[in-house]
């Protein structure tokens, strides 16, 4: 990785911070505080389940919304506002720009997720006054959420490299929804025959498998997650993100910046 990628990443992170993206943490903190206080008064023995489920789902949704809304503008906004002209007229290669943008937004999402994770654990501590060994799965679930955010960021960048922000948002959000049901789609593909089966298989394996990356339920019930799944999901997210970024670079390299 060149130093220029790091400079672009740092600037992307700074932009997100100054555009008050991290203000979502305030909304999250309020939500978790309210949830912790409320479930403490209305639920019996399921406080942990509710807090973990609500907390992790909110972490995932907030992250996805930020990844999509910012990711879709990472390239198109720079072209539209012509800020890209003074960057690419320097010794910066186009792939370095794309990579820098990816790492910058990913860094923002990691910091955001970390802060929200602290909020989840504080809420857990509030409702049960201690941590349990099963809470390790909450950490794994948070790690998988970060992997999902990397994938959706790479996809948003891919769409942003050739499409308008509105269409990019539509594509990215659709993939997020379909990807959340990827396991069901794969199940359907196995049952279907002929062209329908072939098409369903192709679609099932092309869309990002977010359902495999979702272990919120296991975390809420304190179930163990096997190491093989962690390794598989890490490799999957890495390959998928690199493939999406490569697509973004290939398109962006050929693009005329009118």
């Amino acid at each position: 990785m060149t130093s220029r990628v790091l400079y672009i990443a740092a600037n992307t992170f700074r932009e997100a911070v100054r555009d008050r993206v991290l203000y979502n943490l305030i909304a999250f903190a309020l939500l978790m505080s309210a949830a912790a206080v409320l479930v403490g008064t209305i639920s019996i023995n399921i406080e942990r389940l509710v807090v973990i489920n609500l907390g992790l789902t909110t972490v995932s949704l907030f992250g996805m919304v930020i990844a999509i809304l910012i990711g879709i503008g990472l390239v198109s906004k720079e072209i539209e506002k012509r800020t890209l002209y003074t960057v690419l007229s320097r010794p910066v290669r186009r792939w370095e720009f794309i990579a820098g943008k990816f790492f910058g937004l990913s860094g923002t999402l990691v910091v955001n997720t970390f802060c929200m994770a602290v909020g989840v654990f504080l809420s857990l501590l509030y409702v049960s006054h201690r941590f349990e060994s099963g809470d390790r799965t909450v950490l794994i679930a948070l790690y998988f959420i970060v992997l999902q955010l990397f994938i959706i960021t790479a996809l948003a960048l891919l769409f942003s490299s050739f499409s308008s922000p509105l269409l990019s948002a539509l594509f990215a959000f659709s993939l997020f929804v379909i990807g959340s049901f990827a396991e069901d789609l794969r199940g359907f593909a196995k049952m279907a025959h002929g062209i329908a089966g072939w098409l369903a298989s192709a679609a099932a394996y092309l869309v990002p498998n977010f359902s495999a990356l979702n272990v919120i339920n296991q975390a809420a019930h304190g179930q163990h997650v096997v190491f093989r799944l962690i390794a598989y999901n890490t490799a999957y997210a890495l390959v998928y993100s690199v493939a999406a970024l490569s697509g973004a670079v290939l398109i962006f390299e050929r693009r005329n910046l009118k």
């Binding site: 220029r4 003074t86 910066v92 910046l257």
Partner: protein, 337 residues
Amino acid sequence: MTLDIIFPMHAIEILGLEKTYQVGFWRKRRKQALRPLHLTVELGQIFGFLGPNGAGKTTTLKMLMGLVYPTSGSARILGMALDDTRMKAQIGFLPEQPYFYDYLTARELLRYYGQLSGIAAKQLNSRVEMILEQVGLRDAATVQLRKFSKGMLQRVGIAQAILHDPKVVFLDEPMSGLDPMGRFEVRRLIEDLKSQGKTVFFSTHILSDAEALCDGVAVLHLGELRGVAVISELTENVQGKVEIVWQGSSIPEAIPALGGDCRCVGQTVRAVVREEKQDQVLDILRRDHLRLVSVVPVRMSLEDYFVARLGKNDLGEPSKAPPKLNSFSMAGGNRNS
């Protein structure tokens, strides 16, 4: 590394750059933004790229900056290809109506661009402070760019273009939208760059700026190179006419009869006559006891040249002529073509 890169012959060599866009919903229609352009600019020159809006100036600049890819042809800057990052470290670019990251302060923006340009960390701070001082933004260094006026943004634009001490500076309409003071400051900055031995290539449609600053100019219209001129040769080009000025408000009848174009302005009269009629006009003035103020040969202005190159028919109408080869070298003898 070739000798041409170490000791480049020219600052800019444009070798048949051409750009055609596919337009329309099905992208079947072709729109030629720039016809094959050949142009050479020498090191250390201030070169003006003139033309009305839509002439192809910005398209050419974008191709030179690697922002738009040519349909055909190539170009070299300082002897290096357009995608060579070593070349890009030695050029500066100010886009037309620049827009910068408005969440940054002027100092932060320049530091960021300095890092991207490869300025060593040790020199970065001092270089940024020096440039801020040079463009008169030291007092506004900590203000976010979203609070800057248009003139201040233009200064930031020039600052980022010269920050890394480039050898060749490209400026796209640098005086556009500036007040008279702003234009004066930009002109002075361009002159400073020339005195430092830099090559400046700037596009403009403000002819007085080009005439005051440039060593050479190229006139572009509807994507076609209409002519290239050396300013000093252009303004030495005597038109075969003289301007005779005398005091008073009376115009002897014999002077218009000699073909003189006379205008009375206040207490002076200006008459433009052919050179061979000069002595006859002076005799008439002596005979009528009119007081002569000056006799000056009429020289061609850049505006005359520009209008002549565009042609009256082309001022609003697209050219119907078949595509021509746009060719010129400031080094060659084909000047004022």
